[in-house]
Amino acid sequence: MDKRTIAAAVFFSIVAVFLIFGALFMHPFGDPTEDDMDQYIIDNTQSQTGADNGVTSVVFDYRGFDTLGEATVLFTAVAGVILIFRRLKK
């Protein structure tokens, strides 16, 4: 047991205690304390976006910019992987 392991173990146990307490403080499963924003989306999706699938309307319309970011992340990863495995000599 070197010093680094002990420090890591202490850090880990602190995180564990706080997270488990946090889980006990969460609202009961299946009964969110606040759901007004999502209820608004559910009520208005069809008239505002025309889509039948609520999740797709959020993904591509209400939070479309996130999806652009997400597509960019995948693009970045592909570019990165190809860059890493490129041929080094011209």
Partner: protein, 114 residues
Amino acid sequence: MIYNIPYIAVVTLVLIGLYAVIMKRNLIKIVIGITLIESGVNLFLITLAYREDSVAPIYHGSGMRLMSLPVPHALTLTSIVIGVAVLALMLSLIIHIYKHYGTLDAKEIGRKEE
């Protein structure tokens, strides 16, 4: 208490992952740890979406029943794709590290770098 069991599961997953990241020396195990944290967080997001007695937010044939929240579904989708991207990059770096050092042990690599 019984209603908090999904959250306990989430925290357990996250903690197992965190344990692997900070305690393990094998690079593949570190990557598995990060993936586990990621699954925990995704599970947490999906858990937040559920309302009792609800159906998926698709209108056709739902019969005006209570629907689960759509935003966490969208966030989880984004987060999963990001996870795939990070995983791909980490694994390709590991392939290269193995080519250079012939080992995946973090300590061994540190020694060979000196």
